[in-house]
C-alpha cells in the first residue's frame, strides 16, 4: 500500500454536503476491470456538459485549482455506494488529502486503503477553511500525519484525530493482508473451534 506522511497542496473547495460516490465516479465507468485510469472520469456528470466539454461552473474546473491535491468538502462526503472506484478516481486525479466534517464509513475506510488521508475536522473549523480558501488565492494546506495536524501559511493550525492503527498503516504503507496473515495461526485455530 502507498504510504502517507506529510503533504502540502493546493486546496479545491467543494461547497456541497452529502456528496455521494455516484457523483464522484458515475456508474458508466464502473465496468472497467482495472484499478487505474479513473481520474479523468472524476465527478463526470458535474464536470462535463452534455457534449463532453468541461463545465465552466464546476468547482474543479476553475482556473486556480487545476492542480489541487487537497479537497475541502462538507459533511457526509462519500456517502452511498461502497465502490472503491471513488477513492481510486480521486487519487488518480491527484488528490492526496480530503478534509471534511464527516465521511461515510465505507468511503473513509476505502481512502486509507489507497494511501489517501481523510481528515475529519469540526464543522466550524471546516467553515473557517472554506473562508480562507476563498480569501487567499492559491490557498494551500499542509496535512501532517506524524503529528496529526492540518495547517496553512496564514497562521492556521489544528490537530485532528485518527485511530492509531489506520495511522500506522498509512505512515508505513503496510499491506493489510500481510499483517493479518501474521495471525494466520489464530485464524486457523478459530476455524477449528467454530
Amino acid at each position: 500500500m502507498k504510504c502517507f506522511t506529510k503533504h502540502t497542496g493546493l486546496v479545491a473547495a467543494m461547497d456541497r454536503a452529502n456528496v455521494d460516490t455516484d457523483q464522484i465516479i458515475p456508474k458508466q465507468f464502473l465496468k472497467r476491470i482495472e484499478r487505474t485510469g479513473f481520474g479523468e472520469f472524476l465527478f463526470w456528470d458535474w464536470a462535463r456538459l452534455d457534449d463532453g466539454s468541461p463545465n465552466p461552473d464546476f468547482e474543479l474546473n476553475q482556473p486556480g485549482v487545476k492542480d489541487a491535491s487537497v479537497l475541502l468538502a462538507r459533511r457526509n462526503f462519500g456517502c452511498g455506494s461502497s465502490r472503491e472506484h471513488a477513492p481510486w478516481a480521486l487519487e488518480d486525479y491527484g488528490f492526496r488529502v480530503i478534509v471534511a466534517p464527516s465521511f461515510a464509513d465505507i468511503f473513509y475506510n476505502n481512502c486509507f486503503k489507497n494511501g489517501m488521508l481523510a481528515v475529519r475536522l469540526p464543522e466550524d473549523i471546516v467553515e473557517q477553511l472554506f473562508g480562507r480558501a476563498e480569501k487567499y488565492p492559491g490557498y494551500e494546506l499542509t496535512a501532517d500525519l506524524n503529528n496529526c495536524t492540518v495547517g496553512d501559511s496564514h497562521d492556521f493550525s489544528t490537530t485532528f484525530e485518527v485511530d492509531s492503527f489506520r495511522r500506522d498503516c498509512l505512515l508505513n504503507g503496510l499491506d493489510d493482508i500481510g499483517q493479518t496473515l501474521e495471525h494466520e495461526d489464530k485464524i486457523t485455530s478459530y476455524e477449528g473451534t467454530h
Partner: protein, 470 residues
C-alpha cells in the same frame, strides 16, 4: 473474547464476540467472516490483487458469486451487446473458475440480485457475519446476521484471509412501537426513519430495528428495511431472528443439515433483557404515512399527503443549500403537492423491492387497470426464482396486460449500469433505494416509493395516496 460475555448483550454484541479472531489494544479487530457474496463490479481488481501477490482464496466454499449489476434484463439467449459489460461478467466467471468459487451465471435459473439470492438459497443465516462489495449488503441483517458492505481492497482481504480488520461500530436501536396503518409498507417505514434521522444519522453505528411494528413484518419486509440502513449512513442494520426467520429458512438448499440444532443456537441470538445500546430512538408506527422522496438523497422525503418542502423550511444553512440544489435538480420549486407530481417512468425492482411479496403488492394495484399513456413502466424481478414464482401465480400476465414491461432478473434501473436508464429530465417513481443525481440515468429524477405506490403512480400518471385507492 471480551469480558462482556456474561453481561446482558445486544444481538450485535453477541455476533461480534463470536467472530473475534484477534483483538489487541490500539489495533483493529480481526473479525471472522462466515460468508462473502461477490458480484462483477467490485471484484475483478480484488482477484487481480490476489494473483499479483500469489495468494489463493482461503475458503472458496464460504464465497458465492453471481452477476447482477451489469446484466441486461432482456432476452437472455441474446448476446450482451455492451462489450465492456460483457468483459466484466466474463472476468467474474473466469475468476470463479480459477479460484473454485460457486458462480450462478446468467443462464442459471437461480441467478439474480446478490441480496435476493443469498437469502433465497439459504446462504444467509442468523448469527453470521456476511460481507459483499456492495453497500446494500445490510439487507441480510434481516435474518439477525451482521452484514455490511465493503470496498474492493476489503473484498481481497476477505478472499485471502476469510477475515476483515474492523473497528467496532456503536449500536443504535431504532424502535418502532405499535402497528402500521393499512396501506403503509415496510418501504414507507424505512423511508420515514431515514427522513427522521437523516442520511448520515446512522454513520458509525450498527442499527438494530426493534418494536412491535418490526416484529410484525414478514421476512421480505424486514429485508426491505435492513436494505436501506446504509441510506441513513449505517453500514449494518439488523433484526433479531424469530419463528418467522426460521420458517423462512427451513427447507432452503444451503441451510445447515441439522436445521433444528441450528435453530436452537439461533434462538440464543436476540438482544438480552437489560442490554444497553449506545443510542436508542423510538417512533410510533401509526404516525407513518406512505412516503415519497422529493430530493436527491433518501433522507429528503415527505408523506404522500404533504407538499414538497422549501429551502426556507430548514434552519441550518447547509441543509437549506442542500434542499435548494436538490429542488433545482428535481425540477421542483417547493410547495407542490406530492400528488400533483406527474411521472414519465415507473421502475419496480432492485434489492430493496423486487421479491415476490413486492411484486404481489404491485400486481394487486395493477390488476385490471392500465398504465397511463404518459408513463412507461417496467417490472424487474429480483431473481430467476422470483420471476418463476411470479409467473406461476400469473403476475406476469397481470403486469403485461396492464402495460408494464416484464423483464429478466438484475439490478437494472436501480443504478442504470445496464441499458435500462432514464433520459435527462424524466421523472420516475422507483422502488429502488437511491435518488442520487443521475443514479437512474444522467439528468433523471428519481422519487423513491413502495411497490404499491409505484404501481398506483404508473396507473394514475402521478403520485396517489394508496390509502385512498379503490
Amino acid at each position: 473474547m471480551t469480558d462482556s460475555v456474561n453481561q446482558p448483550r445486544t444481538l450485535f454484541q453477541k455476533i461480534w464476540d463470536n467472530h473475534v479472531v484477534h483483538a489487541a489494544e490500539g489495533r483493529q479487530t480481526i473479525l471472522y467472516i462466515d460468508l462473502q457474496l461477490v458480484h462483477e463490479v467490485t471484484s475483478a481488481q480484488a482477484f487481480e490483487g490476489l494473483r499479483l501477490a500469489g495468494r489463493v482464496v482461503r475458503r472458496p466454499e464460504r464465497t458465492v458469486a453471481t452477476a447482477d449489476h451489469n446484466v441486461p434484463t432482456t432476452d437472455r439467449s441474446l448476446p450482451i451487446l455492451d462489450v465492456i459489460s460483457k468483459r466484466q461478467i466474463d472476468t467474474l466467471r473466469d475468476n470463479c473458475n480459477d479460484f473454485g468459487i460457486q458462480y450462478y451465471d446468467l443462464n442459471d435459473p437461480r441467478q439474480g440480485i446478490v441480496h435476493v439470492i443469498g437469502p433465497e438459497l439459504g446462504y444467509t443465516q442468523p448469527g453470521m457475519t456476511i460481507v459483499c462489495g456492495d453497500s446494500h449488503t445490510s439487507t441480510h441483517g434481516a435474518f439477525g446476521a451482521l452484514a455490511f458492505g465493503i470496498g474492493t481492497s476489503e473484498v481481497e482481504h476477505v478472499l485471502a484471509t476469510q477475515t476483515l480488520l474492523q473497528d467496532k461500530p456503536k449500536t443504535l436501536e431504532l424502535r418502532v412501537d405499535g402497528q402500521m396503518r393499512p396501506g403503509v409498507s415496510a418501504k414507507d417505514l424505512v423511508l420515514y426513519l431515514i427522513g427522521k434521522i437523516t442520511t448520515d444519522g446512522g454513520t458509525g453505528y450498527c442499527v438494530e430495528y426493534t418494536g412491535e411494528a418490526i416484529r410484525e413484518l414478514t421476512m421480505e419486509n424486514r429485508m426491505t428495511v435492513c436494505n436501506m440502513s446504509i441510506e441513513a449512513g449505517a453500514r449494518a442494520g439488523m433484526i433479531a431472528p424469530d419463528e418467522k426467520t426460521f420458517d423462512y429458512l427451513r427447507g432452503r438448499p444451503e441451510v445447515p443439515e441439522d436445521f433444528d440444532a441450528a435453530v436452537e443456537r439461533w434462538r440464543q441470538l436476540p438482544t438480552d433483557e437489560g442490554a444497553v445500546y449506545d443510542s436508542s430512538l423510538t417512533f410510533l408506527a401509526a404516525r407513518i404515512a406512505p412516503q415519497v422522496t422529493w430530493g436527491t438523497n433518501p433522507g429528503l422525503v415527505a408523506s404522500v399527503d404533504a407538499t414538497v418542502p422549501k429551502p426556507m423550511d430548514y434552519a441550518d444553512p447547509t441543509e437549506q443549500k442542500t434542499a435548494a440544489s436538490a429542488l433545482e435538480y428535481m425540477g421542483l420549486k417547493g410547495g407542490e403537492r406530492i400528488t400533483d407530481l406527474k411521472l414519465d417512468r415507473v421502475f419496480i425492482g432492485s434489492c430493496t423491492n423486487a421479491r415476490i411479496e413486492d411484486l404481489r403488492a404491485a400486481a394487486e394495484i395493477a390488476k385490471g387497470r392500465k398504465v397511463s399513456d404518459d408513463v412507461s413502466a417496467m417490472v424487474v424481478p429480483g431473481s430467476g426464482q422470483v420471476k418463476k414464482q411470479a409467473e406461476s401465480e400469473g403476475l406476469d400476465h397481470v403486469f403485461r396486460e396492464a402495460g408494464f414491461d416484464w423483464r429478466e432478473a438484475g439490478c437494472s434501473m436501480c443504478l442504470a449500469m445496464n441499458p435500462d436508464k432514464l433520459s435527462p429530465g424524466e421523472r420516475c417513481a422507483s422502488t429502488s433505494n437511491r435518488n442520487f443525481e443521475g443514479r437512474q440515468g444522467k439528468g433523471g429524477r428519481t422519487h423513491l416509493v413502495s411497490p404499491a405506490m409505484a404501481a398506483a403512480a404508473a396507473v394514475a400518471g402521478h403520485f396517489v395516496d394508496i390509502r385512498q385507492w379503490s
